[in-house]
Amino acid sequence: MKRKKAKKRGIEIGSPREIQSREVRIASLKQLRIFVKNFAKTLRGGEVIALSGPLGAGKTTFAQLLGKALGVGERITSPTFTLMHIHRTRKPLPSSPLAKGRGERLSILVHIDAYRLANARALQNIGALDYLGRPDTVAVVEWAEKVRRVLPRGTRWINFKIKSDGKSRELRIS
């Protein structure tokens, strides 16, 4: 019930955000990789990406692929227990399409997981809020609906749905 309410608050019917929002059908991990790669090209630094959806929907997988696309060298694992991981991104080569427009600034990927958190305030406790919206940082937040209250305006939401074949997912972007 709570969630429904939150959703209504999140997108207003007819608002520019509602018009922009779209649904993407992802048939396989390979397609997800391509999707994330393209998505990553739109990132300049300062973005917050909120991921929602049930257990096993692919939120961590999304974060891993995003890390790869942004040139994170180290392993990206689930932050469910540790709550927040901070990764350095590698600067893209000038020849790479990622380099275009990205400028010099994007250098950190923060990976947050609210699964175990009791409330939105807890995000502040772990110092996560300091990173949200920082121009050198892209933040990905799993179970973001639990901390919706403290996420900045302009947060990009991606809701994952598992389709019944098990391999494909529906991504709702808003």
Binding site: A122, I126, I162
Partner: protein, 369 residues
Amino acid sequence: MRILGIETSCDETALAIVEGKGERVRVARELVASQVKIHKKYGGVVPEVAARRHAEVMPWMLKKMLGRERARAFDVIAVTAGPGLITSLRVGVDTARSLAYAWGKPLVAVNHLAGHIAANFIDEITNTKYQIPNTKFQIPNSNRKSLSYKPFAISRARFPALALVVSGGHTELVLMRDHGVYELLGATRDDAAGEAFDKVGKLLGLGYPGGPAVAKRAEKGDPHAIPFPRPMIHSKDFDFSFSGLKTAVAQYLDVQHPVGHPDIADICASFQEAAVDVLVEKTIRAARRVKPKTILLAGGVAANKELRKRLGIEVARQLPTANCRPPPMKFTTDNAAMIAAAGYFMARKKQFADWRTLEPRANWEIGAE
């Protein structure tokens, strides 16, 4: 040598004094103040609350632990410096630094996972000379009644040793060439094993933590009922992956039981079988490579009976020259005795930290400087 161990990496405030002599470590006293109830009330972790609680109880627990002897009760301070929640770690580390300065005691910084492994080196029986009266803090059971002293059946500390560390936050294979010398051979690429147990427990509505609940339901189920995947079981490296297994359980529930009553016992047993298969298989494979004399099991999931049993059987069958003994049950969860034990072996090698500069490290990888 007597070591005061301090553990505040997550939501247990724990203190212990262990006595180390040669290769043996005995627990002299221990105290735990658990925050499980507090976090239950909030319905999740609140790092601020956890840290504040650690700080509140710390002086009182120290008073209980050290008694009239105070500084004379111990020789060295061992503290968990990571990995863990930074705000929680901070309390233990800063307490240890203050004591080290004020009383001029040497300080050792212990990696929490090294601590979990060191639980294997503790003699199982508590020396009851130092009985602590029951207080408002929860006192581990073994302190309540007196127990006779039982020496090791085997030496747990023949090196090289291979340790499978399985907890809520970690799934790692660690090679130990000696006390205090760790090399990370492999780790999970996504979810930890305990996390998978917890999330499967959540999917089945079994409450938190899911691990013990899933294990309990599994006892009555058929482990071959559902062919869940064994991710990465055949990969050549020593890494693990549990997200696919978790997702397979979610998928099974969605497709087979959109409504109605799923066969919870069978699902639990089949899931556990898949998880244990992978953990055991990977450990045996790593052992074939590094030829350890001892195989150790550590961390919260080491409480899983099926894992203890299967690892023991497979090591005996496939690696007859290696020893395998699961750790004492009571030291599988977070405690300070294991931190003090690891600290003892470090102090023996004079691997001391400086109170002026010691900092907690939330992501401290075992074996890293």
